[in-house]
């Protein structure tokens, strides 16, 4: 141990345990003693206020979610129902169309009448129907599209009906 080590150890031994502060701190402490307890009360009050504010915020968020997002969820559910309805109606319509086609095929009918306008009409109506269905599936709540689709379906059935009527008439004439 060198001289500096000994000197340092000696200074450490003589180091005063306490130091007198330059300013009187008691007055500040005494004031804070009441404030400190009051602070605790305020803190509890503040905590309650924070709790109440947080609860209110959560309630507001929940309410907002209900208003903003829940309708979306409901809409999604409603949309899903509408899409199912579109598919069902499309399937029913296809069955009706197939029923016409089967009738025509069964009798192996070969018309002498020019059916080109009807067939062109059917082609156009079916293309239109495909476009309307595509659009309707993306906006299933569009009332005008629904009306258009039903009208196109009706037109297709009318054209098929005309086609069948011509066949029946020709059959009668043949007999």
């Amino acid at each position: 141990m060198n001289h500096q080590d000994k000197q340092l150890d000696a200074l450490l031994r003589d180091l005063p345990k306490g130091i007198k502060p330059q300013n009187d701190m008691w007055r500040g402490i005494e004031q804070r003693m009441d404030v400190g307890i009051k602070d605790n009360t305020d803190s509890k009050k503040y905590n309650w206020q924070m709790f109440a504010a947080a609860s209110l915020l959560l309630f507001s968020v929940a309410l907002s979610w209900q208003w903003l997002f829940a309708p979306d969820a409901q809409n999604l559910q409603a949309n899903s129902v509408m899409l199912q309805l579109i598919d069902q109606l499309q399937q029913q319509h296809q069955k009706q169309v197939q029923a016409y086609d089967i009738t025509v095929e069964k009798v192996e009918w070969r018309s002498q009448t020019d059916l080109k306008p009807i067939n062109n009409g059917l082609k156009e109506v079916r293309e239109a129907a495909a476009q309307v269905i595509k659009q309707l599936k993306s906006t299933p709540n569009d009332k005008q599209l629904w009306e258009l689709w039903l009208w196109v379906q009706q037109k297709e059935l009318e054209l098929l009906n005309q086609k069948q009527s011509i066949h029946q008439l020709e059959t009668i004439h043949t007999i």
């Binding site: 200074l11 180091l15 701190m25 008691w26 402490i29």
Partner: protein, 181 residues
């Protein structure tokens, strides 16, 4: 021998003040403050290195002691309980203040403040003047280990560092102090 008798007398008187202070007797608490504040102030000053901040911390420490006093069960000596509570409070405030200062001042200017504090104050002992010139971490380790008698494991726990770091900082502090002698 005389010091031991004085200590016993102090503890005897203290044991009367403590229950009164626990019940909200400010006069009794003032007696406890008068008894202990120089020691706490010295500890805090050596830890933080700034007189005005040391006074602020010491005030806060005694306010905390006042608030926590009802929870003192006498399982340890009052001075030990008080000491530990004040160290935790002081280190917590130093840490908070350090992060606040760091936003406005660089570390060098804070260190210079401590050195200025040490150089202009004649009330401090020679070693206190040197301690205040030490870098913050080295100073805190030196104060807690060499002055307050905490083991390196305890110092490391208090300062949130590894035990090896505490030992290294202590040796660094001693080296710097010897160079300054």
């Amino acid at each position: 021998m005389l010091a031991l008798v004085e200590d016993n007398n102090t503890q005897s008187i203290e044991s009367q003040w403590i229950p009164l202070a626990q019940q909200g007797d400010k006069a009794a608490f003032k007696q406890l403050y008068q008894q202990h504040h120089p020691r706490i102030y010295a500890l805090v000053l050596r830890l933080c290195g700034c007189r005005s901040f040391a006074e602020e911390i010491t005030q806060e420490c005694f306010v905390r002691v006042w608030q926590k006093l009802p929870s003192f069960r006498g399982e340890s000596q009052f001075s030990t309980w008080l000491h530990r509570l004040c160290i935790n409070q002081a280190l917590s405030m130093i840490k908070a203040q350090k992060s606040l200062w760091a936003r406005f001042l660089n570390q060098e200017s804070v260190s210079q403040e401590s050195m200025l504090e040490a150089s202009v104050n004649d009330d401090y002992s020679e070693l206190d003047c040197l301690i205040l010139k030490l870098p913050e971490r080295a100073r805190q380790v030196f104060v807690l280990h060499a002055v307050e008698g905490y083991r390196h494991e305890e110092v490391a726990n208090l300062l949130g560092m590894a035990t090896g770091t505490s030992k290294a900082q202590f040796h660094r502090a001693r080296k710097l102090l010897k160079e300054m002698l």
